[in-house]
C-alpha cells in the first residue's frame, strides 16, 4: 500500500509541477491581461468588484489594442524570424559537431562534451558582454582586421541584427548540441557502413540514412533553441541596435517603462498561445508519425 502511494506520487509529480509552475502563473497572467489598468499599485483593477453588489470588471481591450497595432505584431514577427534563423544556424553548426562528438572515442568524447558545457559555468550576461568587447569599434576583432590591413577603418560589427543572431547562436548552441548528441550517440554506425556498402556515397548516405534517423534529435534541439529565442530579451538588448524591435524588448518596456501590466500580460499571454498551440499540434502529429515510422 505504501509502495502504491509512492508510485502514484511519482507518476503525478510532473503534473503537480506543471500545474504549480506553468498553469497557475499562466492563469495569473491571463487574469491580469483582462483587467482594467489604472494608476496605482498594482497598476490594474480587481476583476471582481463587490462595491455595488457583485460585478465582473474585465476588458478585452488590451488584446484588441495589441492586435490592432502593428508595433506589437511586427515585433513578434521579428522575433519569430530571428528564432528561425538562429535555430537554423544552431542546427547546421550543431549537427556536425554533435555527430563528431557522438562518433569519436570515449576519451575525446568526454573532453568535447565538457567543452560544450563549459560556457554554462560562467554567467550568461558576462559571456554576452564579452562579445560586446570583442565586436566593438576598438575591440579585438577590429584591431586585428585593421592591423592585417583588411579594412582601413573599424567596421560597425555591433548593434545590428547580425550581432544579435551571432550572439544567440553562440549562446544557444549547447542546447542544440546536447539533445542531438543524445540521439546520435545511440546511432548504429553500421547503418552508415551498410548504406555505403549498398552503393550510396557520403552525401546520399547522409540524406537517406543519417538525417531521417536523426529527426527526433533535430526536433528536440530545435524546439529547445526556438522557443526561448522568441522571448529573448538580453541578447538583442546588449548586442542589437535600434534597427529591429523584438518581442522580449517590447514586453519589457510595456511592463517596466509604460507600467501597463494588463497590456504586457495580454502580450505575454498571446505570445505563449501563439507559440505553444502550434507546437502542441506539431508534437501530436509528430509523435503519431514517429510511432508509425518506429523511429
Amino acid at each position: 500500500m505504501k509502495n502504491k502511494l509512492f508510485e502514484k506520487y511519482f507518476v503525478f509529480s510532473p503534473y503537480f509541477w506543471l500545474v504549480l509552475f506553468f498553469f497557475i502563473p499562466l492563469a495569473i497572467i491571463f487574469k491580469i491581461s483582462i483587467s482594467v489598468s489604472e494608476w496605482g499599485m498594482p497598476p490594474y483593477q480587481d476583476i471582481f468588484l463587490f462595491d455595488n453588489g457583485f460585478e465582473i470588471n474585465t476588458t478585452f481591450e488590451n488584446y484588441i489594442y495589441i492586435f490592432s497595432d502593428y508595433y506589437y505584431i511586427g515585433s513578434f514577427v521579428n522575433s519569430l524570424i530571428l528564432a528561425l534563423i538562429s535555430t537554423f544556424f544552431c542546427l547546421i553548426i550543431g549537427f556536425p559537431l554533435a555527430f563528431y562528438i557522438a562518433t569519436s572515442n570515449i576519451r575525446l568524447r568526454n573532453i568535447l562534451l565538457v567543452l560544450v558545457v563549459i560556457p554554462f559555468w560562467s554567467s550568461f550576461l558576462l559571456r554576452v558582454y564579452a562579445w560586446k568587447i570583442i565586436l566593438q569599434n576598438n575591440g579585438i576583432l577590429n584591431v586585428i582586421l585593421l592591423n592585417l590591413g583588411i579594412t582601413s577603418e573599424p567596421l560597425q560589427l555591433l548593434y545590428n541584427q547580425y550581432a544579435v543572431i551571432m550572439g544567440i547562436v553562440y549562446t544557444y548552441l549547447p542546447l542544440m548540441i546536447l539533445p542531438l548528441f543524445g540521439y546520435l550517440n545511440k546511432f548504429d554506425l553500421n547503418l552508415i557502413e551498410a548504406s555505403k556498402d549498398l552503393g550510396l556515397n557520403r552525401i546520399k548516405t547522409f540524406f537517406k540514412v543519417i538525417l531521417p534517423l536523426s529527426v527526433p534529435g533535430i526536433v528536440a534541439g530545435s524546439l529547445l533553441v526556438f522557443i526561448p529565442v522568441v522571448g529573448e530579451f538580453i541578447i538583442p538588448e546588449m548586442l542589437g541596435g535600434s534597427d529591429r524591435l523584438y518581442y522580449g524588448k517590447i514586453l519589457w518596456e510595456e511592463f517596466f517603462v509604460n507600467r501597463n501590466w494588463p497590456g504586457a500580460s495580454a502580450l505575454a499571454f498571446s505570445g505563449i498561445i501563439i507559440l505553444v498551440l502550434p507546437i502542441i499540434i506539431f508534437q501530436i502529429l509528430y509523435s503519431r508519425w514517429s510511432q508509425k515510422n518506429e523511429i
Partner: protein, 355 residues
C-alpha cells in the same frame, strides 16, 4: 577452377601499436564458400572489413576478379557486406530495405520486380510491408541477406551470419545458406568464431590466430590432419599426447603405453593427436591388455549426448576423451562410471602435430 578470383596479397594492418593482421595471403576461387575461423582478437573481422572497404590495410593489395580494389570506397566495390547486427534501416520497411541499394539505377517497375524475386528466393514475400522491429531474428537475417543479394554482388562478405540466431534456427539456416550459395554461385567469404558453423558452411576455411593464418584447407583436411597444436585443439575435441622415441617405438609417459606410428619421424619427441571418435572402447574381458595402440583405463565421467556418449577415461596419469556412438537402443548399453574398459584405435588415426 579459377583460383585467383579473390586474391589477398601481403595484407597487414595495425591499430596504433596493436598489430591486428600480419602479412595475410589468401587465394579464393570463384563460387567458393570460404570461412575465416578464429577466436576474438584473431583479426578475422578486420580482414573482412578490409575486403568490404571499411578499413584500409597498411600494406598489401586486394584483387577481385582481376581488379585491384584496395583503394576503392565501399560504395564503389562490386561486393556486399552482411553485418553481424544486420544493420537494417529502422526507418524503412522491408520492401525499402531490400530496394535500398538498387533505387538509384532502376526504374520503379524494375525495383518492384527485383524485390519480389529476391523476396521469393528467401521466402519473405509476406513480410514486405513490415517494419524492421516487427521481424524475428531469423526474418531480419533474411532481409539483410536479401538486401545484399539483390545487388548481385561478385562477392558477399558475411560477418558472423548466424551468431544472432538461436541454436535450432541456426542449423536450419546453415543448410539454407549453403543451398542458396550453391544455387546463386556467388563467392561467399564469412567470418565466424564457431567451429561447427565454419565446418558445416565452408568449402575451404582458414584458421586465424593473432593476425596470422595458421592453416587453410577444407574442413575435412583441417579436422583430420591439423598441422598445428592450436588448430587441433580449436577444431573439435582433441586428445593431445606427448610421445618420445624409446628403443624402436614411441612411448608416452603419461599413458605408460607404446605407440606404433605408420610414419617415420625425424624428431625424437613430438605431440600426437587422437580424435575421441577414433577410439573404440570395449569391455575389459573381451581383450588382452596393453598392446600397441590399445590400453586399459577406468571410466571417470560419462555424459550421454543422444547419438553419442562422451566418456572421460583415466589411463595412468592422464584423462582421454572418447566419443562412442550409441548403436544400440538398449539404455544399458553404456558403460557405467568406474568401469574398467579397453580402448583401441587404428594406427592411421594417430596424427603427428608439427609444432
Amino acid at each position: 577452377m579459377d583460383n585467383n578470383f579473390l586474391v589477398i596479397e601481403n595484407i597487414s594492418k595495425s591499430f596504433g601499436d596493436n598489430k591486428v593482421l600480419e602479412n595475410i595471403n589468401l587465394n579464393i576461387s570463384k563460387s567458393e564458400f570460404f570461412g575465416l575461423l578464429g577466436s576474438s582478437g584473431s583479426g578475422k573481422t578486420t580482414l573482412l572489413r578490409i575486403l568490404g572497404g571499411f578499413e584500409k590495410p597498411d600494406t598489401g593489395r586486394v584483387i577481385l576478379d582481376g581488379t585491384d580494389i584496395t583503394n576503392l570506397e565501399p560504395f564503389d566495390r562490386p561486393l556486399n557486406y552482411m553485418f553481424q547486427s544486420y544493420a537494417l534501416f529502422p526507418h524503412l520497411n522491408v520492401f525499402n530495405n531490400l530496394a535500398f541499394g538498387i533505387k538509384e539505377n532502376f526504374t520503379q517497375k524494375e525495383i518492384e520486380i527485383n524485390v519480389r524475386n529476391i523476396a521469393e528466393l528467401l521466402s519473405i514475400e509476406h513480410l514486405l510491408n513490415r517494419r524492421i522491429k516487427q521481424l524475428s531474428g531469423g526474418e531480419q537475417q533474411r532481409v539483410a541477406l536479401g538486401r545484399c543479394l539483390i545487388k548481385k554482388p561478385k562477392l558477399l562478405l558475411l560477418d558472423e551470419p548466424l551468431a544472432a540466431l538461436d541454436k535450432k534456427l541456426r542449423s536450419k539456416t546453415q543448410l539454407e545458406l549453403t543451398t542458396l550459395q550453391k544455387k546463386l554461385k556467388i563467392t561467399f567469404v564469412f567470418v565466424t568464431h564457431d567451429q561447427e558453423e565454419a565446418m558445416s558452411l565452408s568449402d575451404r576455411m582458414a584458421i586465424m590466430k593473432n593476425g596470422l593464418i595458421l592453416e587453410c584447407s577444407s574442413p575435412e583436411e583441417i579436422y583430420e590432419n591439423p598441422k598445428s597444436l592450436y588448430t587441433a585443439n580449436f577444431i573439435g575435441i582433441a586428445n593431445i599426447i606427448e610421445i618420445y622415441k624409446k628403443d624402436e617405438n614411441f612411448y608416452s609417459d603419461d599413458l605408460d603405453i607404446n605407440f606404433k606410428l605408420n610414419k617415420e619421424l625425424k624428431n625424437t619427441q613430438t605431440k600426437i593427436l587422437l580424435r575421441p571418435e577414433k577410439i573404440k572402447i570395449q569391455s575389459i574381458n573381451n581383450l588382452k591388455t596393453n598392446s600397441f595402440n590399445s590400453f586399459s583405463g577406468e571410466i571417470l565421467e560419462k555424459s550421454y549426448l543422444g547419438s553419442f556418449t562422451r566418456y572421460e577415461i583415466k589411463i595412468n596419469k592422464t584423462i582421454i576423451s572418447v566419443l562412442d556412438q550409441n548403436f544400440n537402443s538398449n539404455s544399458n548399453y553404456n558403460f557405467p562410471k568406474g568401469e574398467k574398459v579397453i580402448c583401441s584405435w587404428e594406427s592411421e588415426s594417430i596424427k603427428i602435430l608439427e609444432d
